[in-house]
């Protein structure tokens, strides 16, 4: 029994069929973690990118170090850090799912910040010069010239990280988040049958990543090469 549902152990096929609803409950948590983690990553990543290109070294260097540190250390340990250290050192206790979302967000914000930076840098300098010649303010230049041209470069890269986040969510099971792999493990622990649930989780992930990769490709194709106006 799990979530008030029971499984049918007659054979592997009936077993597989009977645990689908339970796995889908886990899948819901997987998707929630992905979406909120990605939202944090995109927002925090933008903050990192802006801070890293700050005019003073007192900001840009430490931020650069933080980005590098986050990128080069494992998500699992960052997750432990947020889940176990935050309560003892600051008194803020995050529930497991929230801690997991925060960890995903922080790790991927480091990647996203590089995406933003590369996207903005790829806009040719001549565009900036032309904007200055036309007497546009810095803000206008960003809004009407630079960002619209950077978006078609940024979105595909962000999309790839979205797919990566989906694949990293099972790590949250290490702090007992009830995502799909954790659900499969519990089913395995209680029935002594691991093969079917874990294989099904693999298939579910394959479907999920194929759909999201297809979605990213679809968006990519829809993007006009020249750029998108932000207004």
């Amino acid at each position: 029994m799990l979530f008030g549902m029971s499984w049918d152990l007659t054979n592997d096929w009936t077993f597989a069929w009977s645990i689908i609803p339970m796995l889908l409950i886990g899948m819901k948590i997987t998707i929630i973690a992905t979406i909120f983690g990605f939202l944090i990553a995109m927002t925090l990543g933008l903050v990192f990118a802006l801070a890293r290109s700050a005019p003073t070294r007192f900001i840009s260097w430490p931020v650069g170090f933080v980005i590098e540190f986050v990128r080069d250390t494992p998500l699992l340990i960052q997750l432990f850090f947020i889940f176990y250290v935050l309560p003892s050192s600051t008194g803020i206790t995050l529930p497991a799912l929230e801690a997991g979302i925060l960890a995903l967000g922080v790790q991927y914000s480091a990647y996203c910040s590089e995406v933003y930076r590369a996207g903005l840098q790829a806009v040719p300098n001549g565009q900036w010069e032309a904007a200055r010649a036309l007497n546009l303010s810095t803000w206008q230049t960003y809004r009407d010239i630079v960002i619209p041209q950077a978006i078609p470069r940024i979105i595909p890269a962000l999309g790839n990280y979205l797919v990566s986040i989906i694949k990293d969510t099972p790590i949250l099971s290490a702090i007992t988040v009830m995502e799909v792999l954790h659900v499969a493990n519990i089913i395995g622990d209680r029935t002594y049958r691991y093969m079917v649930p874990i294989t099904m989780v693999g298939i579910l992930f394959l479907i999920l990543t194929l759909i999201s990769a297809g979605f990213v490709k679809f968006i990519e194709k829809r993007l006009p090469r020249a750029g998108i106006a932000v207004k």
Binding site: T73, F80, Y84, S88, I171, L181, N185, M195
Partner: protein
């Protein structure tokens, strides 16, 4: 209850040793798989192409942790052989990173100018000779920067083997955290992060050296 600072350092060093060993073994294993599958995906022999593409799709399309659990818990049931955590860990990491590497190899091989292939054919090179003497020397340097990123990714991913009870650095950290007073948690996990960071820096340096070596051998420069 409680652990001393020396005990923390000792345990983390022990774990780091396992992490280094696992990372090296699976990076080498992954490189072999990457070349085999990357070359296979461009083969004229259809089953080789099909096999390579299926392999890449499966291992890039699912989570590493799911793959590790599958190898450790499900595969033994299927084939009736007990698989040790070390074997499952190295196999899982190799298969996973190999699938990412295969795409790098394929991309680099495909980027070699078409004329080079025609010239090789005109000179009556066999496909094996074309690969060894024309394609690989020209494309290996292009593979190095992405390989460097994958090596770092593999180091970070190796922490997941702790979840199939392999006593690597992450495992030792979690074990220490369970035994230590709560006030020591920040020291343990902070040091663990630092250990991983230092290992990543060393690995980056090593990949840079390897890059230099290939630059020298092939007489080409890494494009950055």
């Amino acid at each position: 209850m409680g652990v001393t600072f020396d005990q923390i350092i000792d345990a983390l060093l022990q774990g780091a040793y396992v992490t280094i060993w696992i990372t090296l073994a699976s990076t080498v294993g992954g490189a072999i798989l990457a070349f085999a599958s990357g070359i296979g995906s461009l083969s004229h022999f259809a089953p080789a192409r099909w096999l390579s593409k299926t392999y890449v799709q499966i291992f890039r399309g699912t989570s590493l942790l799911v793959q590790l659990f599958w190898l450790y818990y499900a595969l033994p049931v299927l084939i009736g052989i007990h698989i040790s955590p070390v074997a499952a860990g190295i196999l899982g990491l190799s298969l996973n990173i190999g699938a990412y590497g295969a795409e790098v190899v394929r991309g680099a091989l495909q980027s070699v100018d078409e004329g080079q292939l025609e010239a090789a054919r005109a000179l009556n090179f066999t496909p094996g000779q074309t690969l060894r003497r024309i394609l690989l020397p020209q494309s290996i340097i292009e593979m190095m920067p992405p390989f460097g990123n994958l090596a770092i990714q593999n180091l970070k991913d190796s922490s997941l083997v702790s979840l199939i009870s392999l006593s690597d650095l992450a495992f030792q950290a979690d074990d220490l955290r369970n035994r230590a007073f709560e006030s020591d948690t920040i020291t343990i996990l902070g040091l663990t992060l630092l250990f991983y960071f230092v290992m990543a820096l060393v690995l980056m340096g090593a990949m840079r050296l390897l890059e230099r070596y290939f630059e020298k051998v092939s007489g080409r420069e890494v494009a950055r």
